[in-house]
Amino acid sequence: MSKFDRLVTKYLLYAIPCLIILFVWGIVKYPEDAGEGLPQTLRTLWDTLGWIFILWTTGSLYLSIKMLFSKSLRDGLLKKLARIQDRDEREEIISGNAAKFSFLSTLALLCLFLFLSLCTMRLERRPANDPRPSKNVISLGMQFKLIDTLSYKKESQGREGEVIVDYSEFPLTKAALIILLIAWQVGSYHYRARREMLG
């Protein structure tokens, strides 16, 4: 873990109280006219907290992306959070077995979720005067959509003008997200295993 990453991690941790203050302030009384109506001290404080939040969001995004690719950062940060111990070969074997169990059980769970996300089922009861012999009908099907179109908000007008970017949630559908996770899990496993085998 580099010095910069350590600095960002510490900032993310120590800035949490400021974020709590900001959120509580925002919930209790959101200063709509933060630039005009508030006294100078409070306005400065609101702006400072806002900048802390901007930096915190940027730092979180940086660490989240870097954690995907940097082994040292993952080991330094996530191992502590997940309380994984591998101080010697016996603990490494135990961690390896536990990770294998966790990997396979998560994969099984993801497969179940994928199945539930892809499948559609409809049970219908036909009207009594329907000439067809079967009265109850069950329809089974499968559907897949890559992008969740409902998550897009097509508002072009904001409070103070034209909206350029409005990001509110991850645009992939549940099924697409699960497929992405399964592909990442299996892919990263084979990538690592291949590298370990080649030495």
Binding site: D88, E89, R90
Partner: protein, 93 residues
Amino acid sequence: MYNKLYITKSKVYYTFMGKTKLTLDIQNSIGELRAEHQLTQQQLADEIGVTRVTVHAIENGNYNPSLELAFKIALFFKTDLNRVFKVRNKGKL
């Protein structure tokens, strides 16, 4: 406590084509050697670079160390590997 002879037993199963072929009983005399050198489990663990729990697990036969760690233990006690680890039921693979 240190005068007691520690001989522990650990079983190794060799599996071939899904069937267990051979069982090895691996015994170790780490406890005895530790007693000879008047060392605690923690001191031995520090010397060979593992945790105390691992030394305890090896002594009790709950964990078979890697070849590297086995040699480390033997080299630390300045003895032969066969003195530290002994195989009982030798059979055909």
